[in-house]
């Protein structure tokens, strides 16, 4: 299946992409998507402990399952306000 990965702020800069397609095996979780991403871009690994995630613009957990066509977002620690 294919999902669309969205990256923001420093993560977007490190990966040099705000949005990219990612092919994953069926049944893959958000964590699988993160690990596939980290395998491509090692520099994001330090964020593993502090990153948040969302599926289709809704906060999610790393162990949530993805389905074809989902938009999965990885969010570094936030600083709004």
């Amino acid at each position: 299946m294919f999902v669309t990965v969205r990256l923001f702020a420093r993560l977007r800069e490190i990966a040099d992409a705000g949005e990219l397609p990612l092919e994953l095996p069926d049944g893959a979780t958000v964590r699988d998507a993160w690990q596939a991403l980290a395998a491509r871009t090692r520099e994001i690994e330090p964020y593993a402990a502090s990153v948040s995630c969302a599926i289709n613009a809704d906060y999610s957990k790393m162990n949530a399952s993805l389905k074809d066509g989902d938009e999965v977002a990885f969010l570094p620690p936030v600083s709004g306000g």
Partner: protein, 192 residues
């Protein structure tokens, strides 16, 4: 008799004009309502504080507390030139709605609006405006304070600070809306 006919004719003219005026007023107020009804907004446009207040003000509320976050000229010993805000807008809007719902659990008669700016924001300009309307002031203040504390904890928004000599992404809290301890901390600050 003729005079009285004349007067009644004029009266009917006046009443027709009044009804036109009242229709126009209705149209104007409806348009104003349309402009100001967004409770939650994420946009590159400069923030309009009056519009945020208008979206929550109502006859049952005797208090509207506002919080305006502005860009400061210094941070951690750096001279700040401007901030660039980035947001995951659809999730930010959902998060604002959630924050307002959380506040209403504590302050049930409170109405909250949150507008946050994105893009380049100059020193002194507003980055966020919160308005909380409530029948009484204590609840309005509490809800507004709670909202800004929660925004800093869980809104998917980031500051890219441009300062004299460089730039840096500001990274604060790991966003976790389910973190009950963080939520209680925000309540505690709002009620202090």
């Amino acid at each position: 008799m003729r005079e009285s006919f004349g007067v009644s004719g004029e009266l009917s003219c006046v009443s027709r004009e009044l009804s036109c005026v009242s229709r126009d007023l209705f149209r104007v107020s409806r348009d104003l309502f349309r402009v100001s009804r967004d409770l939650f907004r994420v946009s590159n446009d400069p923030l309009a504080i009056d519009a945020v207040i208008a979206s929550v003000a109502r006859p049952s509320c005797g208090a509207v507390a506002t919080f305006v976050g502005t860009v400061r000229d210094s941070n951690a010993g750096r001279r700040v030139r401007w901030l660039d805000y980035e947001a995951y807008a659809p999730l930010a809007l959902r998060t604002f709605e959630q924050i307002a719902e959380e506040a209403r659990e504590r302050w049930p008669e409170t109405h909250i609006a949150i507008h946050h700016r994105t893009g380049r924001v100059a020193v002194g300009e507003s980055s966020v405006v919160i308005a909380a309307a409530s029948p009484h002031r204590a609840d309005a203040f509490g809800a507004a304070r709670y909202a800004i504390e929660r925004i800093k904890q869980i809104a998917p928004i980031w500051k890219h600070e441009h300062f004299d000599g460089g730039e840096v992404w500001i990274e604060g809290a790991t966003a976790d809306p389910g973190d009950e301890a963080a939520r209680q901390e925000a309540f505690a600050r709002a009620c202090s």
